[in-house]
């Protein structure tokens, strides 16, 4: 070094690396090593800041994008698999947790009145029907005037 005073103001801004001047050999003697942070002198004593961009964020972004793409591919591949299994098994496969929503289920109850001598189908619920009580006979009745008998 020639002993000149210099100082470096380190900022966050990217610094355009100096392009080598006509006398590149003379400038290269004072050019810092690659990757090093530090002042670089230019012919004429001007000071400039050189720094390489941090590759880590870009690597992370590319990695995340790759993972997302792979995940989507896996879902697309695995999705129809459960339905195919059900279809192959003739619809008797164990119910999966991912059942489609068809809305409220309508329960249809079929009621049959058994005639004497008939028996109820297997699995049906038999409800005994009580004999209706005979109508109570009353001699005295309250009613709207004009219709009392």
């Amino acid at each position: 070094m020639s002993g000149r005073d210099y100082s470096v103001a380190q900022t966050g801004a990217s610094v355009t690396p100096d392009t080598p001047g006509p006398d590149a050999s003379a400038a290269s003697a004072s050019r810092p090593r690659p990757g090093a942070r530090g002042p670089a002198t230019r012919p004429g004593g001007a000071i400039s800041v050189r720094s390489k961009p941090n590759p880590l964020p870009m690597r992370l972004a590319i990695g995340a994008g790759g993972i997302a793409a792979l995940s989507a591919l896996l879902v697309a591949i695995a999705g129809p698999t459960a339905a195919r299994v059900d279809a192959v098994a003739g619809g008797n496969a164990a119910p999966t947790t991912d059942t489609p929503d068809f809305g409220p289920v309508r329960m249809i109850v079929r009621t049959v009145v058994l005639q004497p001598g008939q028996s109820a189908p297997d699995g049906s619920l038999v409800v005994p029907v009580a004999t209706p009580a005979p109508k109570r006979q009353v001699r005295i009745v309250t009613c709207q005037s004009g219709i009392c008998k």
Binding site: K135, V138, V141, T142, C143, Q144, S145, G146, I147
Partner: protein, 321 residues
């Protein structure tokens, strides 16, 4: 009527019911007496006498009789008209009913009733002054003086039959129990060990009952007095000039009430009370009617609504089979 000694019946004495059924007030009049077997003949005689008295009172109070005391009062142009004791007592009850129901039952709506029967869409105001009063006679004779605007007419339909039934019941005080059926409005006295079973007619099906009330002496206590009455819009109903009307006039609209209650049956402390509150329940409708009946303290009530549902005061179940 000659005062007769009471017919004594022990708590476990077998009572028999005898009945005198005839016609009065344009409908059925039934006088039922619960008595001991040895007094059945006397009971039948007293029942017939009570029926005759009811017919005599009805001739005084009916607006359908051309020469009844009520018709003559309505025809009288004087502002102050003397009336006899029976009509005075009936009008006194009508005035009391008007106060207790907040004007819901009004015995001075003859013009509105006639207009409804004629199918008139609008009722001309009879008089701005609808107040009337009943004063004692200055000469001390029984009865009273009715003071009102000459155009104001009285109609006791809807309050008269229950009142008459109560009066007739008192004629049979010497018997352990009795029941007077004034064309569906009943005054009842039940003896210990006795019971009266009374059906509530279903107006939709002749011969069917909506419910059966049981007035049991063991529950009601000896000499317990009740009234059971039914009011509704499905019988006295007509169509005039395309307008459907009935006989229950809403005092505020002065026209047949627009209501969701087809029929109301009320059990109360007297037939007059039961008839009054049954009419009120029809006038105000089911929701307000149940509340009104509950606050009035009636023993029970069953309402038949226009959509076919039957609703009842919860405490009614104590009196049903």
């Amino acid at each position: 009527m000659i005062a007769m000694p009471p017919v004594e019946a022990g708590a476990d004495a077998g009572l028999v019911h005898v009945a005198e059924v005839s016609v009065a007030m344009g409908g059925r009049l039934g006088i039922h007496v619960a008595t001991t077997p040895e007094h059945t003949n006397a009971a039948l005689d007293d029942a017939r006498r009570a029926a005759d008295r009811v017919r005599a009172w009805a001739r005084i109070l009916s607006r359908h009789e051309p020469e009844s005391r009520l018709t003559r009062l309505n025809r009288d142009p004087r502002p102050a008209v003397p009336v006899g004791p029976t009509l005075a007592a009936a009008l006194d009850w009508g005035r009391d009913v008007g106060r207790r129901t907040g004007g819901l039952v009004d015995v001075a709506m003859l013009a509105e009733r006639l207009a409804a029967e004629a199918g008139q869409a609008e009722v001309a105001p009879v008089s701005r002054d609808r107040t009337w009063s009943l004063r004692s006679r200055a000469d001390g004779r029984p009865g009273g003086i009715v003071v009102r605007h000459r155009a104001l007419g009285f109609d006791l339909d809807g309050v008269g039959k229950g009142w008459l039934a109560d009066r007739a019941l008192r004629l049979l005080d010497r018997y352990p129990g009795a029941l007077v059926d004034g064309d569906g409005d009943l005054a009842i006295r039940v003896a210990t060990g006795d019971r009266w079973e009374i059906g509530v007619a279903d107006p939709r099906a002749a011969g069917d009952c909506l419910a059966v009330f049981v007035i049991d002496g063991a529950r009601a206590g000896a000499g317990g007095v009740f009234g059971l009455a039914t009011s509704g819009t499905s019988v006295h109903r007509w169509e005039r000039a395309g307008t459907v009307g009935h006989h229950l006039i809403d005092p505020w609209t002065r026209r047949p009430a627009q209501t969701d209650v087809v029929q109301a049956t009320v059990l109360a402390g007297s037939a007059a009370e039961a008839e009054t509150w049954a009419k009120c329940a029809v006038l105000v409708g089911a929701a307000a009617g149940i509340d009104l009946l509950d606050r009035a303290g009636v023993a029970g009530a069953v309402l038949l609504m226009a959509d076919g549902r039957a609703v009842a005061l919860p405490r009614t179940t104590e009196w049903l089979t």
